[in-house]
Structure formats: structure tokens, C-alpha cells
Symmetry: C2
Subunit: 199 residues, 2 copies
Amino acid sequence: MFYTAESIEQLAEQFAQLPGIGRKTAHRLALYILKMPREEVETLAKALVNVKDKVRYCSICSNITETDPCSICSNTKRERASICVVEEPHDVIAIEKTHEFKGLYHVLGGALSPLDGIGPDDLKIKELLQRFSNTTIDEVILALNPNVEGEATTLYLSKLLKPLGMKVTRIARGLPVGSDLEFADEATLTRALEGRIAV
Amino acid sequence: MFYTAESIEQLAEQFAQLPGIGRKTAHRLALYILKMPREEVETLAKALVNVKDKVRYCSICSNITETDPCSICSNTKRERASICVVEEPHDVIAIEKTHEFKGLYHVLGGALSPLDGIGPDDLKIKELLQRFSNTTIDEVILALNPNVEGEATTLYLSKLLKPLGMKVTRIARGLPVGSDLEFADEATLTRALEGRIAV
């Protein structure tokens, strides 16, 4: 496009590569950046490079952190006897927001997906098993996504962990709070019935 | 939030300041940046600062450009006798995409809005009038947004320009192509009737 500044086009192209940002939004963002004060743009640019410079993975739980071990693993107030296994760092954030879980985490870095060539060796499963050799773990909570890959990983891990003698649980599948029973899909309703608890 | 890397939080905060990006999307983008190769992140960071460094406003039409005068104003193949007046640089892009208009542009930098404290002196109206003193303009096309501010600006400009002896036109308001007459609002339908043309 010759009818606008080239650097605007270049920035829009860069923005358009990010997930969920189409060409129109990318253009709008680039023009917004143009109107922003220079210092704010520099802060954003620095924050971008900072993420690549400072963020590393925790050597214990594989969550993202700036200090190794991470703030959760090094927090003496957390219960050290239960580990919640999740797929990605943003899953840790989601669970932390509930303020329900006081134990430690383990981030696998994905889920088993043979079609995408992701096997057990591509996930932090070895690192998870290593944690059991050092400390006594009472319960492992499997909090993986309720899709095919997550289910496969849950099954794989439960078979691997149960012989080690600890309690292995998984988070419940059922109706989301505020939803309608009428509109629930069959698979969800089946899981909700299976997972019924005494009131 | 203490349960993730601080620089991720800082970047997410920066992203959340951009228009149309909420806190959740900002977080997702920050985590995506973390997974991107370092060179790509640096390219994005450089593109951001580049926009502030290289982009200026054309001294003739006030559109954004890297060379002054801009590529449209300096293009000898464009018709120099007609000027299309728009609010913002992205309006130039929108009209250029139609390949319908071969003349020059004038970017006002906004529209009259007394409630927001934007008066005629805050827009590039003086610069527009200056262009008439140098060259003969046959037609001025007012292509402002069809909202209250745009209408007010159109009215203001037409009163200002008509005495100068040139043809002053405005782009048509009517039903958008592909829409349904049944669902059109009354204001739009009124304008469509008013603006009817012989077939």
C-alpha cells in the first residue's frame, strides 16, 4: 500500500501476526501507536524485549518466572503435599484466581497429541516424577483441559501415578455455573451425572 | 498478581491500554510474545519506535507520511483539481481502496465537536483554505463520517467553501450495499430517499 507511511504498514504487519488480531485491527492499532506519546511507545517496546530477556521457566514446576525457583515453589506458606498438574502457565493464573488451591503446581507445557507429534517426552512428565522422589506428595490433582488431548494426558498420567501410591484426582466435568441444563450438550450432561455428589 | 512473572504482567498492562484489547486478551498476547522467537519480538519492538521516529504529517494534505510532501500530493498522475476532505488518515486508506477517486486529499485530523472542545482552529481548516490560494480547485468532496460531529463539520465547511466559487459535494448517505430495506433505520432511509438519483 503506497498511500500511507511505510513504517505504519510494517507495524500493522507485525501486529497482524499476533493471535486474534486481524488486518483491520492491526491497522487501527498502528495508527493508535502513532498518536501515543513517545515515552509510552518506548515503554511498550521495552516491555516486549523484557519478557524475552527476563522470563525463564521454574526448574521445579516449569511455570514461567523471573526468579528460580518461582514465587509459588519458594513460598513456605503453600501446602507442599499436593500438586496440581496443568497444561500451560495461564492455567496456573486461572486456578490461582479461584483462591481455592493452596498447594504447588506443575506445568506440563502442553498435552499429549500424537497427531501433532507431541509425545510424553515433549512434556515435563519426567520432571513431575522426579518431584515425587524428593518429597512426599499426598495428592496429585490433574487439571487438564476437557478436550481429547487433555483427556488422553489425564488417562496417561493417572496410569503412571497411581502405582506410586498417592491419591490421584481430576477436576470435575459438569454444567458450568449460570448455564442452562436444557442447552447442555450430551457429553457434558453425561459427565455431570457420572460425577454427581451427595448433598 | 504474584503468581506469574512480573515482566509478563507489565507487558499485559501495556497491551491492555491499546484500544479493543481487554485484560484477558492482553494476557494471552503477553504469553504469546513469550513463546515468539527473540528476533521477531525485537522486530516488533523496533517497528513500534520506528513509527514514532519516521512518520510525520504531510505539509500539504496533513496525511501521515514518511516523505514530505506525501506520495499522493507528489504524484503527478493524480488530478490536482479535486480535493477530498476526510477526518483521519485511515479514511484516506478506505477511499483509496475503492480505486474510485483520482484526486488529492485533505486530512482534517478530526471533526468539529464543541462538547469535546474541538473547534475549527483545532482542525486543519486554515491549511485547506491555503491550498485554494495556490491552485485552482474545481471540486471539493466532503467525505466526513455520517454522525453528529461529521455533519456539523460538513455544514461548517460547505458554508465556508461555497462563497469561494468551487463545486462543493458530499458523499451520499443511503442504504449500504447488501443490506435490507426492511431493517434500515428511519434516518438512513430518509437520506436515501432525499438522495435518490435518476436511473
